[in-house]
Amino acid sequence: MNYKRISLGDNIGFSTIIDEKFNTCSVSVKLITELSPETAAAKYLAADILSISNSNIPTLAEMNERLSALYGASVGSSCSSRGDLQPVSFSASWLHDRFAINGESITAEMLEIIRDCLFSPNVIDGAFEEEAFRIAKNDLLDTIDGQINDKRSYAISQLHKKAFEGEPAGYPETGSREDAENVTAETAYKVYRELMKTAQVEIFYVAPEENDDVAEMFRNAFAGIKRCSRQYKFRAPSPLKPETAVAEETLDVRQSKFALALKSSSDDIFALKLLSVILGGTPSSKFFVNVREKQSLCYYCACRYSETKNYLLIDCGVERDKIQAAYDEICRQTDEVKQGNITDEEIGAALLSLENAYLAVQDTPSGCISWYFDVFCSGEIITPEEYFRKMAGVTRERLIDAAKSLTIDTIYKMLSKEETE
């Protein structure tokens, strides 16, 4: 795998990842911008519209027709938050030209589609075309309504809301239902124009061979925009609340859930990340072995670290009357690390698991893009091997210090009805 990053000027980075084992080409454009209640829903809508139409392919039906004729090529967008920021992601993937049955150039057509989607959307009189906008808006409203359908991710989103109250990260990336309802085709288009002008841009191209046309297309297209952007800082540790906040609600569910946010006062991100894996990142972790396997308290009990907000998220699915027992055991296991009760085997297993996960990212185009965007956000663009070497340098003492830096900031509980009524 050959990684290279160049600047296209105006705060636009262009990375190529070339590996001849791939049979597809992928492009991902990240428009980095802040997460704000005023614009979150509009950005979400704009991103969606960009992936379903453009000025030359004005309807979703025509877009799908074109893409299926290009051997099922895909174009999509996403708008997930990352700490206090909201990178708007536009991506496309297609089969390499050598697989085209009639020798046609899939890549040339796809570059046109990508260019038109991003730089020449379907706009009429200063607003996104009404039909495409209406479809995207209905979709967003359904997405917002449907957030409660997945109880685990809903529980985590409710925890975030409480843990990061008053910070951008506490706001949903979709915006609220009310925000979404208030966005018009005109305001969404304005937000799109602002986004193209002001966002910090990172573009990724993953393919089996170099193709200068890709960078050239982006360079030319961005040249038509008067850019005025700034660089964003991804890491924004969340301040600890003076007292632990608790949020709970009762729902008509069969399994209760609870989630904890433990905020850290340490900047040792490698130690905190490794600690999260030792606690609840693998089936040999302290939580899995003790909370699930030894005490049968829950089906899942996991832990992960967020570098941007500098906190550990712990979540589990549990019977209502076992919440306290599970909570006590989670605290006991975390205290064990604080007291230095952590074996070489536990550290070794966590490192091996991370090494495995890091090396595996190079096997898929999406893995490569995620990796190089993640390390870009972390401020140091390094390979998975280099990153792992840093992780392997974490000592027992640093792990203990990382554990000691944690304080429970917020608890969220989703209580099942059936055991009380």
Partner: protein
């Protein structure tokens, strides 16, 4: 059988290939060497899933019936051997180990970037070494009970099982894969051994391994660790299933924000190895519900569906259905639209251009799959368990005609065989 029998399986269309070895132990082994990739994925599976609740071997006088959810329970318990848990063994090598049980198979897998030969040894060893005791069976009831509760809170799971329950009268596909808290309470160590001895016979199993591997290294380990099994003449029976559906509609209320639906058509089951029917059906649902179709655009404009709308084929031993699903506040109107589109296509035939496009798109997605280690390992084991060869799908799609697809739509998508399952929003 005293010798391993090796064959190279090659796609007629693309020239892609993999190796099949009928191992002397009775096991079918599929290997695809993928140089340049870092990862290795291996799956060791048995043709034993939640639907196999009644069976006998040539030596048994009577059929044995077992509690619902036992295949899944067995999968959990096999992860624990006499000395330690299997996760502990993988923790020493860094592999990500896992397992899953579906309607018709149970698979144990690992993926890793290092030490694949050692991981393969772990995999082959623990799957051949059951250890069930009263204590470890009792302990698992709680964990699986939690899993059942968790999956019952997933609306997309409920909408699917409600659909199956209304589609099938008798076939055990209508039962939740994990069973119920009541059915798993009947499971004991003796029953687990009975199921293990019956289904975990190498003649009933498949090993699939793809990625940065070497055939000779894999076969050396297989020769060493696989214990030859006598083919016991396993026979599974399924209750007689009428062609008709059990009931046309089912509604359930759940705390969801957006109502979900599945609209499924009960079709006659395919013969083992009938990949043509599977591919024709796959293209058929794309033609009916494709996002470039008129019907899709109409439903979207009327607000009947959103971007979650899609279709899939669900098939296995004794069951076959075409399912459309999505979010909708008016699922009955969606059903009417789909019925109308089926009638229209049956009457007017399939637009050749649309057919060509859909076929090309499916072909592209099958080719793309071959670029992913996990997808290749899964493709090889799924094909083998369904009686296909790994590249049959690509070759069949390339040769499929619009007439094959039209025949499926006209003959099998009958209105009286459709079931509508809806999870409605519960007003708080």
């Amino acid at each position: 059988m005293s010798e391993n029998v090796r064959e190279l399986l090659v796609s007629r269309k693309t020239g892609e290939s993999c190796i099949h070895v009928k191992h002397r132990s009775g096991l079918d082994i599929f290997i695809r060497e993928m140089p340049g990739f870092s990862t290795v994925q291996a799956l060791f599976g048995t043709k034993y899933g939640s639907v196999n609740t009644m069976f006998k071997t040539a030596g048994d006088a009577e059929y044995t019936s077992v509690p619902n959810g036992i295949a899944h329970f067995l999968e959990h318990k096999l992860f624990e051997n006499e000395e330690c848990g299997v996760f502990e063994l993988y923790a020493r090598t860094g592999a990500a180990g896992n397992a899953f049980t579906s309607f018709d198979k149970t698979c144990y897998l690992f993926s890793c970037t290092k030490n694949y030969t050692e991981n393969l040894r772990i995999l082959l060893d623990f799957v051949q070494k059951p250890y069930f005791t009263k204590e470890n069976v009792d302990k698992e009831q709680g964990i699986i009970g939690q899993e059942i509760r968790m999956t019952n809170d997933r609306p997309e799971w409920r909408v699917f099982f409600n659909l199956l329950r209304n589609m099938y009268h008798e076939h055990p596909v209508r039962i939740d894969i994990a069973g119920t808290e009541e059915s798993i309470a009947q499971i004991n160590a003796e029953l687990l051994y009975k199921c293990y001895d019956t289904f975990y016979n190498l003649n009933n199993m498949v090993l699939s391994i793809a990625g940065n591997v070497r055939e000779d290294e894999i076969l050396k380990i297989c020769d060493e660790l696989l214990r030859p099994c006598e083919d016991k003449g396993l026979e599974c029976v399924f209750p007689d299933e009428p062609e008709e559906i059990a009931a046309p509609e089912i509604y359930e209320k759940q705390p969801v924000g957006a109502s979900l639906f599945q609209l499924g058509c009960k079709c006659p089951p395919a013969e083992t190895g009938d990949i043509k029917k599977l591919m024709a059906a796959t293209v058929a649902i794309s033609i009916i519900g494709d996002a470039s179709s008129e019907m899709y655009g109409r439903m979207l404009n009327k607000g009947l569906i959103n971007s979650t709308f899609g279709g899939e084929i669900f098939s296995g031993n004794g069951y076959f259905s075409a399912i459309f699903s999505g979010e909708s506040a008016q699922p009955e109107a969606v059903r009417q639209e789909i019925f109308g589109e089926i009638k229209r296509i049956s009457r007017e035939g399939i637009d050749e251009k649309l057919f060509g496009r859909i076929r090309k798109s499916l072909y592209g997605s099958l080719i793309r799959e071959l670029n992913n280690v996990g997808a290749v390992a899964n493709l090889m084991i799924n094909s083998a368990m369904s009686g296909f060869k790994p590249f049959d799908a690509i070759d069949t799609v390339s040769e499929l005609t619009a007439e094959d697809v039209l025949r499926f739509i006209r003959d099998e998508l009958r209105e009286d065989r459709f079931v509508l399952s809806v999870i409605e929003r519960m007003e708080s």
